[in-house]
């Protein structure tokens, strides 16, 4: 999650679509929603990219609809079993669930509740991320079926983009260490 002006990741993350219910009529802007409509009418719901949603919501032309990625069903699942939710499936290609949540949070009045959801989920899944990453580093390139089988693999596949980055950081750190330890052993033989 990068706040750098030039970060490509951050730019791509802003393409995430969010539903907005319009509070006014806007003629000739129907193409923004992607459909065939010419005009936007009051109470129309359009799926708009986040970078546009900021302007639309903050200018009070529309209300944002909470995306399903943060809906009640997901929240309950996360409260019960955070590690078994596949965050990658909740967001589109490139999946940045936390990044998406953060950008939504900017538009909410009650930011605290969303922040707690994101933070608690992140923290609980973090231990599993590093656990598996270090285990993978230990198994080496051939360790494809690593972890405790299916649930571990499912967890890895369900990691959001941010968690993937963290996984790679932990794995890289452990691999470097391992390589250095083995250098010594090779020199001995």
């Amino acid at each position: 999650m990068n706040d750098d002006y030039f970060s490509i990741d951050a730019i791509l993350a802003e393409n995430q679509k969010v539903g907005c219910r319009f509070k006014i009529d806007i003629p000739d802007m129907g193409h923004l929603g992607g459909g065939g409509e010419r005009d936007i009418a009051w109470s129309n719901t359009l799926q708009l990219p986040i970078w546009l949603v900021y302007t639309v919501v903050l200018s009070d032309w529309a209300d944002m609809i909470m995306p399903p990625a943060f809906g009640n069903k997901v929240r309950n699942a996360l409260k019960a079993e955070p590690c078994s939710v596949r965050l990658a499936s909740l967001v589109g290609a490139g999946g940045l669930w936390y990044g998406f949540g953060k950008t939504i949070m900017e538009l909410l009045v009650d930011k605290k509740e969303m922040s707690e959801l994101l933070t608690n989920t992140f923290r609980k899944r973090l231990v599993e991320v590093i656990d598996q990453a270090q285990h993978f580093a230990a198994l080496g390139p051939a360790g494809g079926t690593g972890g405790s089988g299916d649930s571990a693999q499912s967890f890895r596949e369900g990691l959001d983009g941010t968690e993937r980055e963290l996984f790679a950081l932990a794995q890289e750190g452990s691999k470097r260490m391992k390589r250095w330890y083995e250098e010594g052993e090779k020199a001995r033989r």
Partner: protein, 178 residues
């Protein structure tokens, strides 16, 4: 290019090894050498069979030319390590170990295993110790919040392994705040 990408992400284990080798170790020299001014300090004289303290990099160099024997530091013995493992597995905090114990033990085991008591056992004990502590570091993540985390008694190599991960995780937590 000023700094290769591999070095930007983190300090590398070989760099830590370089630093660790500046520390002193005791040797029994097999050649004589006058007291000499090196850049890092004055070392010697070497007068066999009297013991002398010189930097590890120097000791390893001499050992490779068969010009000295290296004496194990007090913490690199089977008894000491077994004791530490027991402590490590029966308390929550990290036990106190020499900050660069991982680098120093690997270098000495590589260069002078014939001078050390039971090198294979030492290696296996060090591995057990590493794994016990690695598990503790992971558990420590539970208390990670966006601003501070106490990690006293972690060693240089251990910090290095998790550093990028912990720093990034803390950054993310900071960004998820309202």
């Amino acid at each position: 290019m000023s700094l290769p990408p591999a070095l930007r992400a983190s300090v590398t284990p070989p760099e830590l090894e370089l630093i660790a080798c500046q520390e002193l170790v005791e040797i029994i020299p097999l050649i004589a050498m006058e007291k000499t001014a090196f850049i890092s300090g004055a070392y010697g004289p070497l007068r066999p069979p009297h013991k002398a303290r010189i930097p590890i990099w120097m000791a390893v160099n001499l050992k490779q030319k068969k010009k000295c024997h290296i004496l194990a530091p007090e913490w690199l013995t089977v008894e000491y390590l077994q004791d530490k493992i027991l402590q490590e597995t029966t308390q929550d905090e990290f036990t106190k170990l020499p900050f660069r114990f991982a680098e120093i033990s690997r270098v000495l085991l590589d260069a002078a295993s014939d001078d050390l008591q039971n090198p294979d056992k030492l290696r296996s004990l060090l591995k057990d110790l590493r794994e016990a502590r690695q598990a503790k570091a992971r558990a420590g993540l539970q208390s990670l919040e966006h601003s501070t985390l106490g990690l006293s008694n972690l060693s240089a190599m251990e910090i290095n392994e998790i550093r990028p991960f912990f720093i990034e995780a803390m950054a993310v937590l900071g960004q998820l705040r309202p």
